[in-house]
Subunit: 409 residues, 2 copies
């Protein structure tokens, strides 16, 4: 008998019929003897409907009042799910964020959880009830309704699991787990049984958009075992947990291949190489609210240096304008850029104990005649920037080279 | 400078455009220097939409969870109105029933207000803000969301006005006041400048469906001056207040003529006249959850008596079945009934000091050859049951006889 926190997103509760399906799934765990806390999002489309109503009244509505309105979306879902569970003989009770209470700071629309009082939930679990909690919302210390920002229901689930010391936090989605890479690109991609929090963070930030980054960080921080599962299919999903799997000698060095086509590359050449030049170039970019991903600076020649960095595609034009202005100011000779690039990364905690992983990556790409434009590394990741047109080829080659291909059927 | 509580119903806030119109109206009072608390209902149609969602999941949903869901309707409106007021430069803040808090008992779906903590509202008023409160909802002492039952927003407004010792509680509706009778029946019906709580209660219960009965009772009990006004037209409406208008010598004896077509009449004849016979006949009717309105028992003849009573039309068939069973049991000779009746009433506190009002009523009806089937009286009301086909004729004759007709235009 375990305590499980389950989270179902907007699509999983998108209609009364789907809510009844979710109730059936929850009932199965309850029948197996588990205590269950369920976190739900607003029914799909509901949040946008509410936003639309507000926009009709005012294009820049008060954030406090937006939270009052948007929070009703989950409030409807918790009631419907409680009704559906009670109907099939599973006693259930719903709580809004304010009722729990889930106490947050007062940053309306992007509040952070400060504390959770688990008293009421525990009392209801002890009374044999399934407890349903509205995701994505809380209440500040003055009693104002807050929201955690869109998609924040994952965070609610993880925070509840941490507060309740739950055995597992299950996130139900429209995929049946985390894969070694995108199965649409590599047909022999495999579902991972396990992955570490760190790997998941690197995979997620690189484009595997299964889980909210913040909730993975949170789960890692409080060591809450997180499982990604499919809402309406059977299966054990992927368990995201700490790297305590040392008995597993067969653990692969690389867990997955991530890629991202949404980056653009900018280069500034002939920059007089003086101290503080990096800040002079990148400071104005950051000031323009543009996130910089990779940065490469070449060794100086003739007292000048070259700088290359990547930004998100949507910021490319703005970044180019800023960079051209900077170039004029600091006397750089040339500015160039392109959006036709892609980033491909290999991710795995195994590379900590296996040197030479990067060169195996470069070798695999060289075999396919794929030119590497930039390289960046972290402790458990190696990323390269390549021409966008080679992205699928590169991912397939790396998937094979690191032994991730599923057995042929 | 006064403190005014204003209530706007579902139609008045039925769209973003209408909510903006309401905001303009509130802003006018604010500009005139008044402090304003606004109570709003759910946007028209919203409560039914939510009920529909629940019914898709379960035909007999948990009342606690229904309240959680239904309460979102007003929560959306308070946020939209706050956004609309802020947009036109009027600082405003919204509160749900739980946020105020408006504490109720735990009778989900028909909760009663136990107490209101006015601290937060007063603080916001003192800070120069318009305070918007969700009507129709509250929170019980355990923190569960409750609703006061449909239409309960009027009660919320009156209760807030009482708690805040407001100078006036204004109920905005789709009529411009309380009339001497239905203007669709009598074209020369007049809007009343004032009416007493007692008269309004008699008028309302007799079919003038402008205000919730409970809110009028409440307003009378706490002596909250209540004003009925049109949401989108100018005008002073009708003030409902205590009968302290003694300096007004010209006060009419009768304030209005009410009528109701929705009643049915049942008669049981040849009932052996023994003590307790009334209970034997009416007890089973009440036990079947049928409300009885008027009751008339004729003087006994030959040790038998006749009994006639009225019920709502919708209960007629059920009442007839119950009565026939009772007749068999107690040995009554005959049961009959009809739905083709109407009740017409004259209402006015003036009749306390003016005897002979009833006979003036009967005289006016006799002149039109309208037969009276039943009579019932209260201190400030005389009601008669007549054939339904004479209802308009009777109302017009009485309106003229008691001097209520507006001057000819």
């Amino acid at each position: 008998m375990a305590l499980i926190v389950q989270k179902f997103g907007g699509t999983s509760v998108g209609s009364p019929e789907r809510i009844e399906q979710v109730a059936e799934k929850v009932a199965k765990f309850r029948a197996a003897g588990d205590d269950v806390v369920v976190v739900v999002s607003a029914m799909s489309g509901e949040t946008n409907r509410l936003l639309g109503l507000a926009k009709q009244v005012c294009t820049r509505p008060s954030l406090r009042e937006m939270d009052v309105m948007i929070a009703t979306g989950e409030q409807v879902t918790i009631a419907l799910l409680a009704i559906a569970l009670n109907k099939i003989g599973v006693p259930a009770v719903s709580f809004t964020g304010a009722q729990v209470p889930i106490v947050t700071d007062s940053e309306h629309g992007k509040a952070r959880i400060l504390s959770i009082d688990e008293t009421k939930i525990t009392a209801q679990l002890n009374a044999g009830k399934v407890v349903i909690v509205a995701g994505f919302q809380g209440v500040d210390e003055q009693g104002n309704i807050t929201t955690l920002g869109r998609g924040g229901s994952d965070t609610t689930a993880v925070a509840l699991a941490a507060a309740l010391k739950a055995d597992e936090c299950q996130i139900y989605t429209d995929v049946d787990g985390v894969y070694t890479t995108d199965p649409r690109v590599v047909s022999r991609a495999q579902r991972l049984e396990r992955i570490t929090f760190e790997e998941m963070l690197e995979m997620a930030s690189l484009g595997s958009k299964i889980l909210q980054l913040r909730s993975v960080e949170f789960a890692g921080k409080y060591n809450v075992p997180l499982r990604v599962l499919h809402s309406f299919q059977e299966g054990s999903g992927t368990l995201i947990t700490t790297d305590d799997n040392e008995d597993n000698m067969e653990q692969p060095i690389i867990s997955g291949i991530a890629f991202n086509r949404d980056e653009a590359k900018l280069t500034i050449r002939g920059v007089p190489d003086t101290p503080g030049v990096a800040f002079k170039i990148l400071g104005p970019i950051s000031a323009a609210n543009i996130d910089i991903d990779m940065i490469v600076q070449n060794v100086a020649q003739d007292n000048t240096t070259d700088f290359t960095f990547t930004v998100n595609n949507v910021d490319y034009d703005k970044a180019l304008d800023v960079l051209q202005a900077t170039a004029k100011e600091i006397g750089a000779t040339e500015v160039s850029g392109t959006t036709s690039i892609a980033k491909v990364s290999i991710v795995g905690v195994g590379m900590r104990s296996h040197p030479g992983v990067a060169s195996r990556m470069f070798e695999a790409l060289a075999k396919e005649n794929i030119n590497i434009q930039m390289i960046s590394t972290s402790e458990i990741r190696v990323s390269v920037v390549i021409d966008e047109k080679y992205v699928e080829l590169a991912v397939r080659a790396l998937h094979t080279a690191f032994g991730l291909d599923a057995p042929e059927k």
